[in-house]
Every structure is written in C-alpha cells, then in structure tokens.
Amino acid sequence: MQAVSSPLSGSLIVAAAWVAIAALSLAPSGNAFFARKFAFPLGTLAGLALTAFGLQAIWLAPEQMTLPLGLPDLPFHLRLDPLAGYFLMLLGAVSAGVSIYAAGYFRDETAGRLALIALEYHLFLASMALVILADDAYLFMVAWETMALSSYFLVTTDHKLPAIRSAGFLYLLIAHLGAIAILLCFGVMSGGRGDYTFDALRAAELQPRWATAAFLLAFFGFGAKAGMIPLHAWLPEAHPAAPSPVSALMSGIMLKTAIYGMIRVIYDLIGNVRWEWGMVVLAIGAGTTLFGVLYALMQHDLKRLLAYHSVENIGIILLGFGMSMVFVGFGHPAAGALGLIAALYHTLNHAVFKALLFLGAGSILHATGLRNLNSMGGLIHKMPQTAFYFLVGALAISALPPLNGFVSEWLTFQTALQAPILKNGVVRSLLPLFAATLALAGALTAMCFVKVYGIAFLGRPRAAPTQVQTAQEIHDAGLMERFGMAWLAAGCFVLGLFPTSFLLMLNRVSVSLTRQGLPEAALESNWLWLVPIEPARASYSPIVFLIVIVCVTLLTFILVHRYYHGRVRFSEPWGCGYSEQTARTQDTADAFGQPIRHIFGPLYLMQRHMPAADDAAPRFSLKIHDRHWYWLYLPIARLTEYVSSKIALLQQGKISIYLLYSFLTLIALLIFVR
C-alpha cells in the first residue's frame, strides 16, 4: 500500500478521477443524470483529496514516477516536489469551492449543455493537475494545450453569440502564441540534445546568451497565459464570456499555472538567475499592476472589472517574483527567498479571493441577469448572504487587515524594504519606486471595491423593473452556491489570520527550489506574530488586529446602544427641496470613476456622449477602450492581413497552377540536393 499512500500517486488518482467524471458525464441518459447529480460533488471531493496530497507533498522529499503512457520511447515523467505540492494544494482547495458552487449554479442547464460543461470542466481540472505534475516538456505541453483547449470550449459555452465566439478566438490566439513561445523555450533549453525530461533540462548548462533567450521566451509564453501587459487583451473579453464558475477557475487557478510555469522554468530549469531578468519582470509587473487597476476602475461590467483586477494581481505577483530575482541575481538569496514567498503567497491569496468574487458576481448574474453595475443597486436586501461573502472578498482584495490580501502585499513591501542591501545604486533606488506603484494600486483597488460594493449592494435599484426581472424574482444564492462561497471566504480568513504556518510552508518550498530559506530569526515566528526578517525590523499579528477591531466595534455598539438609544426616529429623508427622488439620482459606477478618469485621462481612450443642456431625455454614456488595441493589436492584425493578401495572389484557383507549384518545387529540390 506504499504506492497508494504516496502523494504523487494520490494526486495522479485524483487527476484520473476527474477524467473519469468527465467521461461519465457524457453517459447517455435522458436528463444528464450523472452530470446533474454527481459530477460536481464528486469533483469537489477529488479537489479536497488533492488539497490533502498537496499539503503532504510540501513536507516530503521530491518524488518521481514514469508513466508508461505517451508515444513509444517517450513516456510521461511525473514529479511532485514542494513547489508542485503547493500549487496542487491551491488547485485542490480553490477548485473544491468552485465545484460545489457549480453543482448549484448549473442546476438549471439543459441536459446536453450540462453534460458538455461537466466534461470540459473536469478535463480542465485534470489537465491543470497534470501541468503541475509534469516532469518533461512533452507531458507539460500536452497538458498545457489540453488546458487551453478545454478552457476555450468552456469560454464559448454560449457559442451562439458572436461576441462570445470572438472572445473565445482571441483567447485561443493568445494562448497559442504563448504556447509557441514555451515550446521554443524548451527547445532552447534542451540545446538540441533531444532529451526533454526536466532532469536533463535542469542539468544543462546554458551559455548566458541562450539562457537569456530561454528566459525571455518563458516570460513571454507564460506571461501570455497569466495576462501581463501587453498580452492581457484576452482576459477582459474571455472572463465575462465564460459562465461564472469557469471565470473563477480560469482567473483563480489557470492564471496561477502560468505563474507556476514561470517559477518552475526560471528558477528550477534555467537556474543561475540574473538580476537584469528581474528588472524586466519588475518593469512589466509594475506596468501590469497600474494598468490593471486603472482600467478596472473604469469598468461598469462587473465581470470585466474583476478580469482587470486579475491583470492587476498578476502584476503584484510579478513584482514579488521580480524582486526575488533581483535579490538572488545580486547574491542576496535570503531576501530573494522572501520575495519568492511573497509572490507565492499572493498567488494563493488571489486564487482564493478572486474565485470568491467571481462566484459572487455569478450569483448576482444568476439572480438578476445583470452584469452592468450601472443598473444594479440595493442587492444587499435581496441577497444578504451573497452580499456578506462578496464583502469578505472585496475586503481581501483591497488588502485590508486582517484578511489575506494584506499579508502577501505586506510581505512584498517588506521585500522592497530590503533594497538598501543592494550595491547597485540605480536598482537600489528603483525598487522603492516599484513598491510605491504597488501602494498606489492597493489604494486604487480599495477605491474600486468601494465603488463595486456601494453601487451593487447598497442604494436603490438603478434599472427600471422592466429591464430586470421583477423584484420578487431576485433571490439569494442557493445552498450549494453558498457552501462554495463560504468555503472560499473561510479561506480568506484562515490565510489572513494564520500567516505564520503558511510562511513556514512556503519557506520549505523556497528551500527546496533555491536551497535558501528565510533567516533563522524569521523561522521563529510563532502563531501570533508574523516576522519575515527579524523581530526588530517588522512584525505583524493579524489576530491582535482582529481582536482590536472586534473590541472597538463592540465598544462603539455598546456605547451607542447605551447612550444614544431611543433617540432614533424613522421618517422620510429630507429631499433637498426636490419634489421627486428617483433611483437615477444616485451615483453610478461611471460617476464613481470620474476623478480617476480626470487624473489619468491620457491613459484612456474615451468615447463619451454628453447630453446637451436642453436635451429632453438626457442620457450620459461612456465607453472606455483599451489603447493597446490601437497601438499594438490592430497594427499587427492589419499587417497580417496585408501580407496574407499578397500571399493570396498565389491562389489562382487553377489546379494546373497548383500542380505546377509542386512540380517546380520538386525540380528545385532535386537540383538543390544534387
């Protein structure tokens, strides 16, 4: 029974179970019985098991296995080390919450669609597990492409709408661009020796020039999947198009497999990290962070807004990762380990709270049929539980203590504060600038979620009842959905309140990856105080923080109750002299972003319609376009079209001409080989 108890074979069994669930979902039955009743709950159990195996693997030595699958003479290699274990835990834990939510969310689908969704959904999960477990480039690419394709089909679930088809196409296009870069990166690393196991790639000593080429290819390829600028364009299109649990999976987990790939390839396979690489990662990361949050502020489509926040959070992860590379490159591995730990911690945190937020957005969409914030309002009355879970997610993403977002951003700041140990003056002065970007982004995120929460859940409904389902039809999320959100919300609390245990876990990942962990003083942090470097420099105790918050709240409540009670009266609020107050007099999502739009005006490409003074039915409308489209994507598209139109001249429509082409090619080749 040794084989079964090892985490690697356990994880493999989980992946196989997901594939089996996917296959069984297709079993012919009148009402997609299996897919409706069992697929998602079973998937949840598999996810929980995977969490346990991942946690176990973090504390064990790396484990390897060769599967007799694949092509002849080219078997699949698997390996489970602490880094992979950590990401498996992330995959298992987050997917468990999303799956149980999906069990409720997809309840009302028709049989055919449900079977297909269950098939693609579980294949997607299994392929992500295999991406993490892969120990050769071949299995990695197979799993990577399976992941891209299954998520593509999930994004285009509503493929009858042209907008969704084009969103899916954009996603597939960028995913393949990235995959080509990753493939080339593996090619560069193998250096023509033809051995593509990660062991061989790890052992290979690359010349500096080729190592840099491999780094750039890996960064581009995984960055395309992660959604860093300027390759982020697919995110804000694909996330709103996909069903909400799928958006939660893609944003919560799939983007993280790209981070996993980046760390695996750059730290583990290429090795010998250079600080210049770190600066590239930092620059792109800072740009991504700022761009993501600034565009998120301008959105009024809730899921689009969340997608831009995913871009921003990937930027934050890249900031931590880039600082880590800079420190390691300059020969300060302890500070580098802290940066890596901050990046990994934020990876998990973002997975948890972003999945939670997407699920909340899904519940709103399910209940009201709305994605446009400008039409929402007052939902807290209709869906109090969803409102609570969404609030937890919003607080977490805004990096407010004692929730989890704060811990990882704080660790990132602590890494940046290590800058004085660097010898290079330019880099030393640049690092705090990047940290300042992060601070700005954090504040803007908080502003953005004040906007989301205030507009969607507070106030009064902004759309006329004809546009929305009538008020009675708006209902709170079902039991399964609430389970899913509660699981993830609990995750936000656990990750926020007990950071020390996760710090130790990540220290172990870092030691196994770079043979370097945190200084001794940091490892002595107890459950109460989190100390990243040494107690004299900085420490943080979320529990004390929580106790203070709870005490202050209670005290205020008691004081108000005691001394103010009885003087409250209920009446119509004063209407400022206006005879009529409608829902339209409230602030809208667009209005909320106006100050930022004013300050950062040149960044946006705005299409505004301002009503004239004497307009009988004044309506303000605003569309924000992404400048990347006009600066980068459209020129490339036009160039491609121009070149193809020239190449199309070859196509004359005459078979004889085509045959002549191959004939001439044959003759030319024959002359060439002579």
Binding site: G653, K654, S656, L659, S662, F663, L666, R674
Partner: protein, 220 residues
C-alpha cells in the same frame, strides 16, 4: 538466367516504361490512356519479378503480385467502369499542345538522367542504370497531371506517378519494406475510390468534369 541477361531484360522493361510514359503524355483518348496505364503496370510487374528471381528477395514476389492485382487488373477495371458510368470516352483537351508537351518531356528526361548519374555510380545493384528512367517517368507523369484539363486523366497521371516511384524503389534498393509497400498500395486503392466519388460530385455540381469550372470556387 544470368546476371547480364536479367539486367538486360530489366533495362528493356525500363525503356518500355519510359516509352509508355511518353505515349500517355501524347494520348488524347481516355480509354487508351487507361489501357496504357495497365500496360505500364504489367511492365512493372515483369521487371519486379525478374529482379525478385535474380536476387532471391522473397518479398519482391509479393509486391509483384500486388502490382499485378492492383495496377493491372483492379484499378483499370474501376476506371473503365467509371468512364462508362460517367460517359466520358471523348478526346482529352490539353492546356499546352502535344508537340510542345513532348519537347518539355524530353527536357525532363535529360534532367532526370543528369540527376541520377552520380547516384547510379554509387549503387551496385543489378538495376542501377534504370534509376534515371524511373525518375524520368515520375516527372513525365507529373507533367501529364499539369497539362490535362479533365479530372480523369489527372488521376491516371497521379497513379502513373506512383508506378514511377515504385519502379525507382525497386531499381535503387530492391524495393521498400513490404509493410510500406502494402501501405502505399492501400493508399492508391483508397485514393482511386475517393477520386471516383469526387468525379460524381464534381459532375453533379458543374455538369462536367472539366476542372476549369472549379476555378469558380476561388475566394476573392
């Protein structure tokens, strides 16, 4: 049968093969084209048998039998049925007139021989002199595919090209492995059937088998 006699016989058959390739290039009638194709197959079978007998390569007997069965009997029969059903016995139009085609063909044969000369020097097989001829017949068949306007002669050109390739394989290396030959034979057979089905569809669509009509399919 001594080495020299069999070598001379193979050379004779190779010359015969080239002659048939030229005949096909100049032939206007489809029925005769099919007959020529069958004759080419027969020459190929004979030469393969001689090589097999002389060298004692057992698998060459199999490929000879396969050639006989497929290229001399089955495919010509299928093509006969096809043109009966499609009612196309009439003369074939060409894109370039026939004398010009023949001149290009002669140029190709010279090119093929020039190309094969250094390889033939290296090879020490019984049939090394015939490599140039084999390549020439491949190129001639290809030329035939290019200059014909109707679909059926193009298919015959395609099949004849396969004959040339087969002959090249036998003459240069005593044949390909049997598995490969079986695969190729199956491909040719299936290809013929698919072409047959396509002919019906093309005619249904355009009321003719003239491939000029397919130019309309081009996207603008």
């Amino acid at each position: 049968m001594g080495q020299s006699l069999s070598s001379q016989l193979v050379n004779l058959l190779a010359a015969f093969l080239l002659l048939i390739a030229f005949a096909m290039l100049s032939q206007r009638r489809i029925l005769t084209l099919i007959r020529l194709f069958a004759w080419q197959g027969a020459a190929l079978t004979a030469s393969t048998l001689i090589v097999a007998y002389t060298t004692g390569q057992v698998h060459l007997y199999f490929s000879a039998a396969l050639t006989l069965l497929l290229k001399v009997l089955l495919i010509p029969w299928v093509l006969h049925r096809l043109i009966d059903r499609l009612q196309i016995r009439w003369d074939v139009e060409t894109l370039i007139n026939i004398p010009a085609t023949m001149l290009i063909g002669i140029g190709l044969v010279i090119f093929a021989f020039a190309l094969a000369a250094p390889i033939s020097e290296l090879a020490n097989t019984l049939t090394r002199a015939t490599l140039g001829i084999a390549m020439a017949s491949v190129l001639l068949s290809f030329l035939m595919m290019i200059v014909r306007r109707k679909a059926v002669p193009q298919v015959i050109g395609f099949l004849a090209m396969e004959n040339g390739l087969f002959f090249a394989a036998t003459s240069a290396t005593y044949g390909m492995p049997l598995v490969v030959e079986l695969g190729v034979a199956l491909d040719v057979l299936v290809g013929t059937f698919i072409f047959g089905i396509f002919f019906f569809h093309i005619r249904e669509q355009f009321d003719s088998l003239d491939i000029r009509h397919m130019e309309k399919l081009k996207q603008d």
